[in-house]
Amino acid sequence: MKKEFYIAKALILSRLNSIAKKKKYRKFLIPSILAIIAVVFYFIQKFAIYLFGLRLGFLPNLPLYLLNLAVLAMLIFLFLGSITTILSVFYLSNDITLLLSMPVSGKKVFAGRFLYVIAEDSVYTLVLVFPFFTAFGIMNRLGILYFLLSFLFCIVLPVLPAVFAFLVVMPLANRVSSERLQNITMVISVLLGMAVYFVTQIANPAYGLFKNNHLTGIGTKLLLISKFFPSWAAAEFSAKFLQGSVLAGSGIALLFIGANVLLFYLAYALASKYYIKGLFNARRTERVVVKRKWIVKPGQSPIRALINKDLKMLMRDTKVKVLLFSNLAYLAFFAVAFGFMPSKSTQSGSFSSIVFLIMMYVIVDYFLCGQNTLINLFIDRESIWVILTSPLKSAVFYWSKFIPPFSLGIIVNLLLLVLSLILMGVKASYASIISLPVVIAMPFIFTVTALFIGFQFTNFHTPKDPRKLISGRVVLVLAVVYFVYILIFGIGIPILLSFIAKFKGISFTFLVSLIIFAIVSFGGGFPLVMLSIKKYEGLQITE
């Protein structure tokens, strides 16, 4: 097992180095991580002890339910990330080409990488789930064996999601190229997210609070399936220890640990036969010929050429298509679930119809103008040197990134306006007039904000990981800013306008709406435009 450990060790070291980017920080890294882990562990354990101590009359086994829930939540987290983790660690990692040229067998490469995945994921399970076990053990004075077995339980918990993801990705990798593999796995991840949501609803221990007659016949049967989920094993072996059946409890825990070890060996056996083939296959490049009618045409103005280039690249990138597809799915869900159905019963100019219409534009523009602007901006990240060394004015580059998402937002907003008038009839007309300034102001605000934030982070390197089309920092900052925007523009201002409409009538409210959004657009938006253009002028490529 020596080579496997060396491979895992190299991956762990490289992960640690990527966290502590500068050499001088490396010596503090492990102590810092351990200190953070200890603090988080302590607080989660304290929190778990507090929760376990709650006395809820209708739920006598609260600690066991919570233990079950903690393991289940962790499993959801692991399952959701498993496909992309396996894809990037097992198939797309940069060091694989080097390893393939070395005298190391495929199964050793597999085992080394598998150990790495388990080591990384068990940090999460030990920090986030193990405190629930220790809290349970401390409260019930369960003895060292319980702590030891629950520790091992947490270590092997990531095995099932990792093996599952490997069994999904491996057959695909043996058949399709790297590009297609990334696209297919992204779609699978989206579907998996939906499936995991569905399954967790079945396995959710909260359903145990209700009597079975509250569930349908199918629901009752599905509830029985939940007994086979690993989260149940956690609760069951802890319950046995609580009842004093140490032997039965240990048996269940060891059965669970043994089953996971067997799962690993199953994947190991399959990997020894099929893993290497997939590695070579994933490195194959497919020949793609583009039809003449789709090409970027010669003789365009710089701004048109830039927009044309961006649109072509976006249309040909299936990762982007998947993102757009999920955006549209959310929008459709929002429109049907929270939009037109309940709004049919609202009154003309009422509080809810104004709030609903404005909120709808805000949510739609958040997706269409916010996310798409960043995708459109960072699609240049790999080749930004072409733009930066060309005699292109910064304003031209800026507006080329602004126009497509802004136009898309305006078009969709106008379509929604027409649709709301058709579906809600006269009831919507009053609210529509008041929300009219939002149709233009919101796409503008969302687009210029996304561009401003995007321009602050000048890391234009190629993303190695399919999850990182847009850098995490940008997404985080934008999410916080947009959350504030939604509170202000989607909730605060619509409520204010609704109150004004109630007392002052349509014309006055429209005027107020116009003034508010004009002030926001000119006072807030244009300075952001100027600052972004200025930032672009100082854009540099550094290592």
């Binding site: 497919e286 583009v290 010669p298 003789g299 690249m313 072409v386």
Partner: protein, 252 residues
């Protein structure tokens, strides 16, 4: 013409390029040599406006890069060390895009794109996505893009890496023709044979400082290498004689 005046780039305490003074004339092929990490790519990035100097100035055909970057950039063609270009565009589309942002008239650009693709033997791949090209083909499409607007200053960072011998020869011929038309060629390279055979003058940079500059003969005279190769000269100037120890180790 390229001119730098006391060009300096610092990253914190580390000085990547230290008071660099270069003067590359029109019609000249200038070889920029140096060991790894000497400051070659940083210099090229400052010459092309990709990186702002900490101090000092860059002039392209007499135009100050800091004060009039658009004008200066219009005169430059860059061939970087890594040919990263839009993977989801075809070769044809990429060159048409370049023609548009350099504002080449449409009739001229159609003709030029066709001609340059034929010259670099890329016509058969013109309608395929660049992501499917080999490294050498990507390098060629970048060369095509750099030449398309007929720049007066051509800056190349390791231009022949990844090219097959035939394409490498084509590039060398092309650079000669280019310089003979009065254009400036500034080239960083590790391949000393290319520098020796092609460059009118060479500059050797080490630890961010220009340690020697002149024709190969001038440098030989200065270092007292007599009939030695540029490789010997280079190793002597950059302290690369340590390689002798390495050779001894390998022999043992």
């Amino acid at each position: 013409m390229i001119e730098t005046v006391d060009l300096t780039k610092k990253y914190g305490e580390f000085v990547a390029v230290n008071h660099l003074n270069l003067h590359v004339k029109s019609g000249e092929i200038y070889g920029f040599l140096g060991p790894n990490g000497a400051g070659k790519t940083t210099t090229i990035r400052m010459l092309t406006g990709l990186l702002q100097p900490t101090s000092g100035k860059v002039f392209i055909d007499g135009i100050n890069m800091e004060e009039e970057p658009i004008k200066a950039k219009a005169r430059i063609g860059l061939i970087p060390d890594t040919p990263s270009v839009y993977p989801k565009l075809t070769g044809n589309e990429f060159l048409n895009f370049i023609a548009a942002i350099y504002e080449i008239p449409p009739e001229e650009s159609v003709h030029k794109v066709k001609e340059i693709l034929e010259m670099l033997e890329l016509s058969h791949k013109a309608d395929e996505l660049i992501e499917t090209y080999s490294h050498g083909m990507k390098q060629k499409i970048v060369i095509a893009a750099a030449l398309l607007h007929d720049p007066s200053v051509l800056i190349l960072d390791e231009p022949t890496v990844g090219l097959d011998p035939k394409s490498a020869k084509l590039i060398k011929d092309l650079l000669r023709v280019y310089a003979s038309r009065g254009k400036t060629v500034f080239m960083s390279t590790h391949i000393l044979e290319i520098a020796e055979r092609m460059c009118d003058r060479v500059g050797i940079i080490n630890h961010g400082t220009l340690i020697a500059e002149g024709t190969i003969e001038e440098l030989r005279r200065r270092v007292g290498e007599g009939e030695g190769t540029l490789e010997d000269l280079f190793l002597k100037l950059t302290g690369g004689e340590d390689t002798k120890d390495l050779l001894k180790f390998l022999e043992d």
